[in-house]
């Protein structure tokens, strides 16, 4: 069995197709003994026979051999022009990109101008002067494709110029031509290969198109375009001489085009790829939802606003399935602010999204656990059992969310007022003007001055702090009982951060708005300011939870202790700076989690049991849990 790296698997089929066409063209004299231009008037339009596999055309020429030799012409013209245009264009582009200045002006602007011309027009202009023929075609196509290469090479070189290894080569005193040819060129080859295949496909099309018009290859030389042109005259009598070159041409272009697509996917994984996700979709086999009850405080759950139990959210990645959050259980009481703390990648955002059923599908999915919400009408809603419509009613109305990046979380094409009003229109079923009036009040309540005017502003006309105030106004619009704030201050300037925190605290303390808040952050300073209780997450699990003062005063998990120790700290009495503590080691990748405690490899208290099996949650104080079997030693 051939064992091919998955990376190359998508390139191989079209590559084989293209190679086959090239091979048939190359070996034409060995495959057929017939001369493609030999006429035989007595055998005009003869049907297929053993001697003439595809029959003969209106001059009695062998169609099969004309097809094969036609491929030679197409490919020769395409390869010649793609190569010569490539050599010229790449040289121009690299020089323009590397040196800048006048070289840049001439090469790139000139290329832009040629590119702003419909290609076939330029071709026809030159054919008018030089007359048709294979040589003219080669010249025309070279001029036509040069700018495309120049532009790609220019852009790539520009981004390469400042990279370290290019700088290094320059510092080492390599001659410029060496840097260009041996350092830069090999590194920008990928996009140029894509450009090459695009050019070949386009050249085949233009050659056949011009030949079809009688302005390309000159008869009696065979060319697919020319064959179609000639066969058109008698297609009513026998359509096959017309169909063969049509099929050959289409297959060739299709093969080259799919090679282009595959190469593009290969060299530019950022582009939306059909293959990658299609393959992933096939591997999406999730474990059935298991009822996985974990220890939650039964008393608390009863009066809780939100209680989750055994929440598990999984993602499919190229490396396999990973658990972004695992066995996450917590509660939020009415009016309470619970902080969910952890480093990036610890699963805190995914936990927040899971509560609202917003995990990005199809790659991610909440695979087990329950989320129960006490609605405003005092009913218990099981969110994980809701269908789309049920979720829509909960989102924005019962639970609202404030996101990290206000700029990208607001839609750039609508004024902010419209975006605030949207929620109200769908949940409250009120008219647009009414909703906009409410939006004005909401903007005022989040401290935006002149709100009647500002609702007409677009997001990009506001500062980051203002945008986040808009997001908060949006979240408040339907008076939700729970707000999930996902790092609402992280993307903002420090002074603005304080203002937004202040705003959230003030709003929460207002009598007419009582809502619980799940505050997701990595910043323990923020936690101390706003939270009543803290949940500490590490590698998808909650490792410690407790009231904020207890947890800060006497942490019961080595990870929490490490986090607290790494807060920058200045001793005010002496003015001395304490050396900043850093937890040793790094966070393990989620696909390589150890079987036991995920923190064990970095923990100086870890014992054999920690590595072997997952520690249970233990009560360490009033409403205070830890997933560390050695919490006594830690506090000791």
């Amino acid at each position: 069995m051939l064992n091919i790296d998955a990376k190359y698997r998508n390139i191989l089929p079209p590559l084989i197709g293209v190679a086959l066409v090239f091979l048939l063209a190359l070996l034409a004299p060995f495959i057929t003994g017939h001369d493609p231009v030999h006429m035989s008037i007595s055998e005009r339009m003869a049907p297929p026979s053993m001697e003439h596999l595809l029959g003969q055309d209106n001059y009695g020429r062998d169609i099969f051999s004309r097809l094969l030799y036609g491929a030679r012409v197409s490919i020769a013209v395409a390869l010649f022009s793609a190569l010569s245009a490539g050599i010229l264009g790449i040289t121009i582009g690299i020089i323009g990109g590397y040196f800048g200045g006048i070289a840049e002006l001439i090469t790139v602007r000139l290329a832009d101008i040629i590119l702003s011309f419909p290609p076939i027009l330029l071709a026809l202009l030159i054919v008018t002067i030089l007359g048709p023929g294979v040589e003219t075609l080669g010249l025309v196509l070279t001029i036509l494709y040069m700018p495309g290469y120049a532009r790609v090479a220019y852009g790539e070189t520009l981004s390469m110029r400042q990279l370290e290894f290019v700088e290094a080569a320059r510092a080492l005193g390599s001659p410029t031509w060496r840097i260009l040819a041996l350092t830069i060129l090999p590194n920008i080859l990928g996009p140029l290969i894509v450009q090459f295949s695009l050019t070949v496909s386009s050249a085949v099309l233009i050659e056949s198109g011009l030949s079809f018009l009688g302005l390309g290859v000159v008869p009696p030389d065979p060319s697919w375009g020319l064959m179609i042109r000639e066969a058109r005259a008698y297609m009513v009598y026998t359509p096959m001489p017309l169909l063969w070159p049509c099929i050959a041409l289409t297959i060739t272009v299709l093969a080259v085009n799919s090679l282009c697509d595959a190469l593009r996917d290969f060299y530019d994984p950022r582009a939306v790829s059909t293959n990658f996700l299609a393959n992933l979709a096939k591997t999406l086999i999730y474990a059935p939802i298991a009822k996985d009850y974990s220890q939650i405080d039964a008393q608390k759950a009863e009066s809780a606003l939100l209680s989750t139990s055994g929440l598990r959210t999984e993602f499919v990645t190229p490396k396999g399935r990973i658990r972004a959050s695992n066995d996450v259980s917590f509660t939020v009481a009415p009016g309470e602010t619970v902080a969910l703390v952890g480093e990036s990648g610890s699963g805190k955002t995914i936990t927040g999204l899971s509560v609202l059923g917003l995990v990005p599908e199809p790659l991610g999915k909440m695979t087990s656990g329950q989320v129960a919400l006490r609605s405003k009408s005092d009913e218990i809603i099981c969110i994980e059992e809701l269908d789309d419509e049920g979720l829509q009613q909960v989102r924005g109305d019962e639970i609202a969310m404030v996101f990290q990046e206000p700029m990208s979380s607001l839609n750039p094409v609508y004024p902010v007022g419209e975006q605030i009003a949207e929620s109200l229109r769908y949940h409250r079923k009120i008219s647009r003007p009414q909703a906009l009036l409410t939006a004005v009040d909401l903007l005022e309540s989040v401290g935006i001055s002149d709100p009647a005017k500002r609702i007409k502003d677009y997001p990009h006309q506001m500062s980051g702090g203002m945008q986040q105030r808009v997001m908060i106004a949006m979240a408040l619009s339907c008076s939700p009982s729970l707000i999930i704030a996902d790092e609402p201050t992280t993307a903002l300037d420090v002074t603005i951060q304080a203002q937004i925190l202040e705003l959230l605290r003030n709003i929460r303390n207002q009598e007419n708005r009582s809502f619980g808040m799940l505050f997701i952050t990595h910043n323990l300073g923020v936690v101390a300011e706003i939270a009543d209780r803290v949940l500490v997450m590490y590698c998808g699990r909650i490792v410690e939870s407790g009231p904020v003062s207890n947890l800060f005063r006497s942490p019961a998990h080595p990870y929490t202790k490490g986090l607290l120790a790494s807060i920058p700290h200045i001793d005010h009495s002496s003015g001395d700076r304490q050396p900043l503590y850093a937890i040793p080691g790094t966070v393990p990748a989620l696909d390589e989690l150890p079987p036991g405690c995920a923190f064990a490899p970095r923990c100086n208290l870890a014992i054999e049991a920690c590595v072997q099996e997952l520690p249970e949650l233990e009560v360490v104080g009033d409403g205070h849990w830890s997933r560390c079997p050695r919490w006594r030693e830690l506090r000791g």
Partner: protein, 317 residues
């Protein structure tokens, strides 16, 4: 906003100037005597008197600056010279045929948008599923069939075999509107096969990109119904880039209609270009190419301005 418009218009005018100059220069840049080149062919060298006459006729005997000034003043007055064959003013013929080419392009674009945009949105929303993969496969195939192959095969099938429609031709709309539209249908559909596939791909990619945007998540978090999220926060945002590409591609169609007009005997500007090139009627070729290039540049300008209307970030800059 006004600064942006003025800047774009200025760039477009510069481009018109450069293109005009290039079209003028091409005949001089190609090695050899242009008059000789235009008359050569068939392996026989033309007689010197004929070459001289041609040189005078094209004004090639004048100094190059005088030639250039004559050429530009001519264009500014709408004078593109006269045809070699019948001394007919080129501008007149262009004026007669241009609307037909524009009509064909508009019809083909409308048809392509109607097919490509909805299917592109559908494929993106069904990403990775059967519908998406089938549509993407179909689009790949449709993009690979050369336009003259599609055209010829459509003539063979619908005109010759099935006899549903005429093989090609033209009737003025004022004379017989129904027949006019029937003649328009086949060339427009031929262009639309490839063009709708291009629009489909573009729409699909853009919608997929937009679906990943944070504001879409915000819209979902607000509890908006799925249809509203798709319409207001995905499709509306994706249409800016899609319309830009459609506009730019329409520009390429200005050249691409050459083959289709030829296949269907549509008496537009591009088909006329083929005749002009065949007879190597330089003034005609030059005039047609200039007019198409102007249109192309104006279309790009229009797309730019339209885009600024669709995207407030540019509008208010």
């Amino acid at each position: 906003m006004w600064r942006y418009i003025i800047k774009r218009v200025f760039i477009a005018l510069m481009l018109v100037f450069v293109v005009t100059s290039i079209v003028f220069l091409v005949i001089h840049l190609i090695p050899g005597d242009p008059a000789m080149l235009l008359l050569s062919g068939g392996g026989v060298d033309p007689a010197p008197e004929v070459v001289d006459a041609m040189r005078r006729r094209l004004g090639l005997d004048l100094p190059i600056w005088t030639q250039y000034i004559n050429y530009v003043t001519g264009i500014l007055q709408g004078d593109f010279g006269t045809s070699f064959q019948d001394d007919h003013p080129v501008a007149e013929e262009i004026a007669k045929r241009l609307p037909r080419t524009i009509e064909l392009i508009l019809a083909a674009t409308a048809l392509s948008i109607l097919i490509g945009v909805p299917l592109g949105i559908l494929a993106a929303l069904q990403h990775g599923k059967y519908v998406d993969r089938t549509l993407a496969l179909g689009a790949g195939l449709m993009l690979s069939v050369p336009v003259f192959v599609t055209g010829t095969l459509m003539v063979l099938l619908f005109a010759q075999e099935l006899r549903w429609v005429p093989a090609g031709g033209f009737v003025a709309f004022s004379r017989d509107p129904v027949q006019h539209l029937i003649f328009l249908l086949m060339p427009a559909a031929t262009i639309a096969i490839g063009f709708s596939a291009a629009i489909f791909r573009m729409t699909r990619t853009t919608v997929l990109e937009t679906l990943k945007r944070d504001w879409v998540r915000t819209a979902r978090a607000k509890g908006l119904p799925r249809s509203v999220v798709i319409r207001r926060h995905v499709v509306r945002n994706a249409m800016g880039p899609v319309m830009t590409v459609i506009g730019l591609q329409m520009g390429t169609l200005l050249g691409g209609t050459v083959l289709v007009e030829y296949v269907f005997n549509w008496p537009g500007l591009s088909g006329f270009l083929v005749v002009a090139v065949e007879s190597r009627d330089y003034p005609e070729v030059q005039g047609i190419i200039l007019v198409i290039s102007f249109l192309f540049i104006m279309l790009n300008l229009l797309v730019d301005l339209l885009y600024s209307v669709l995207d407030p970030r540019i509008r208010l800059e």
